[in-house]
Amino acid sequence: MSTVTERSAAGTRMAVQLDGVTKRFGDSTALHEAWLKIPPGEFMTLLGPSGCGKTTLLNLVAGFLESDGGEIFIDGTLVTETPAHRREIGIVFQNYALFPHMTVAKNIAYGLKTRGVNPAEISERVDEALAMVKLTGYGERRPRQLSGGQQQRVALARALVIRPKVLLLDEPFSALDKNLRGSMQVELKEIQRRLGVTTIFVTHDQGEALSMSDRIAVMSAGRIRQIAAPGEIYSRPGDRFVASFVGDVNVFAGRLESRDGDRSVVSVGDAAFSVTAQPTEALSQGDALDVFVRPEHIAVETPDIAGRLNGTVAAQVFQGDHVDLYIDVPGRAREWVLVRCPGVDAMTQWPKGQRVGLAIRPDAVAAFPKESAGEQA
């Protein structure tokens, strides 16, 4: 029932490939024609708010859900109809799902036993896996005797010991406290790189996504909005959802001035910027649009310089290594404009109520059509 295909034009066999996969629950479409190609060894993150379809996509790849359309390939093999237990995937759940009635070693050995591996090899590979996650000597404990971080390592060892074709991670860090999270992320990324295992990581935390991924697929309302490397997602968001979901962003009311090939000129007040034309292709000259700028791409200076925006400091927030200034820019931005000033000088230099000018870095601006009534941001 399985067919080996080489669908990719480049001829490289994809570790995971989704061709127009759709999933419906009753009347609602949880996943709308997802197309995705993940080359071997890649760390791919599915990022989006809850209910965006990322967990549905994960469950479809794992085989826990049946798709209502489209095809899924793992390692070049069509698996759309293959049950979960024959897909050779490893999965780590948010709550780790360690079998409470088995010891740590039995948990890790479970997948090897189902494969009929001989006992001597099982015990050897379990020891290896425990060493890999730095839990040598913990084999005879019960899951509930371990800390959250240790449980996660066991779950990871259990998923990896079977040498899966794909490793699926379903929000694995969200149950850990903040201090542990950072070090577990580094450790997991290191193990993943060393083993070169293709990984699909589901999260709603943009920080995790940006720091760990080779590429990120940003999802919302059942659709993949953009697939790109973290840097590109952050600096060249494909639509206004991606721009506002990943990182902090300021939205200014702007106008389309002119278009020339794939570049457009947009203005905010008397400041003008060159932006990628593609997102606002449907607009005509003179139309209103939204201009997106990251807080770190705005500098505060003295007011009343030509081609700059003017505003008043509305609030200062001390953040330790930097200061967040909130600037009221009437008529140009609906909400206070956030500006990130390094160091602590801004506290004294730009007191509350001070009139200031805003300098926007011209190459770090994006423009999108204004929000239509039905669209979710």
Binding site: H85, E88, G90, N95, A97, G111
Partner: protein
């Protein structure tokens, strides 16, 4: 913290009220115990002399002995069959959707509201219509029908507490559905299965009304024998038997409480 007088009065009267109600619940058991040790054959209070002769008569009385063994046979068969059928069905209810699922569930839960005498009468008539006779299978069938809702409930509650992600994890590790059932789901369900069986067994052993309709002299269980006794004799033999009953039941329940947490089984522990 200072508490108002009203508040305290309310607390105290609440406690007294609960104590009185609990006393009402225990009263018959106390009176029966007192009666069972009364030396005289005629009921009278307070007893003038005490003896164990009624206990001796209770355990030696032929109908009781026969009823006890009949009841044990019926109970073991009925609760075991109900456990197998009820656990399987509860699993299907919890994990699958299938045609007529709700209808089937309603039918199997209906003995909770259908009067036992109606079920007894129906099975008696069914056996007459089909010419199957009134042997042990009929009594066992009646008991399976009656205790099944309790087994289903017990297993369903345990199933809801088994994280389906454990089964998903097992599947991702290559375990077939049967293997998952045997190595993950079933071991985690064991407490629920045991308490479900125990629940069913206690109810089956005590079932009276439906059994009265479907049993014969040859298949009558202990409660039926006791009912027949009380209609003929007024001596404290039955009180002695009742005391044995109460002690054994309370002991079994206390054990069940210690091992499984009765509150959890009955779903009254919310916090």
């Amino acid at each position: 913290m200072r508490r108002s007088l009203d508040r305290m009065a309310l607390d105290v009267s609440g406690k007294i009220l609960v104590l009185l109600i609990l006393a009402f619940i225990i009263l018959p058991a106390l009176v029966v115990t007192l009666t069972a040790f009364n030396d005289k054959a005629i009921l009278s209070f307070p007893p003038k002399a005490y003896s164990l002769r009624w206990f001796q008569r209770a355990v030696e009385y032929g109908d009781f002995r026969k009823g006890f063994w009949n009841g044990l046979i019926v109970t073991v068969w009925a609760s075991s069959i109900a456990l197998v059928i009820g656990a399987g069905f509860a699993y299907a209810l919890n994990r699958y959707s299938f045609p007529l699922k709700r209808t089937l569930e309603s039918i199997l839960l209906s003995p909770l509201v259908i009067p036992h005498f109606t079920i007894g009468l129906g099975l008696l008539m069914l056996s007459a219509l089909s010419g199957a006779g009134r042997g042990f299978p009929l009594v066992v069938f009646a008991h399976v029908v009656l205790v099944l809702p309790f087994v289903m409930r017990s297993v369903l509650i345990s199933l809801q507490n088994v994280d389906t992600r454990l089964e998903m994890a097992a599947a991702s590790l290559g375990a077939s559905p049967l293997r998952i059932l045997l190595t993950i789901t079933l071991p985690l369900l064991v407490p629920g299965l045991i308490s479900g069986w125990l629940f069913a067994a206690i109810l089956s052993f005590n079932e009276f009304t439906a059994t009265l309709f479907v049993s014969t002299q040859a298949t009558q269980t202990l409660p039926v024998a006791m009912y027949n006794y009380v209609r003929e004799y007024a001596d404290p033999t039955l009180a002695a038997l009742s005391v044995i009953y109460i002690v054994v039941t309370a002991a079994v329940l206390s054990l069940a409480n210690a091992f499984f947490g009765l509150g959890k089984v009955l779903n009254v522990d919310g916090h």
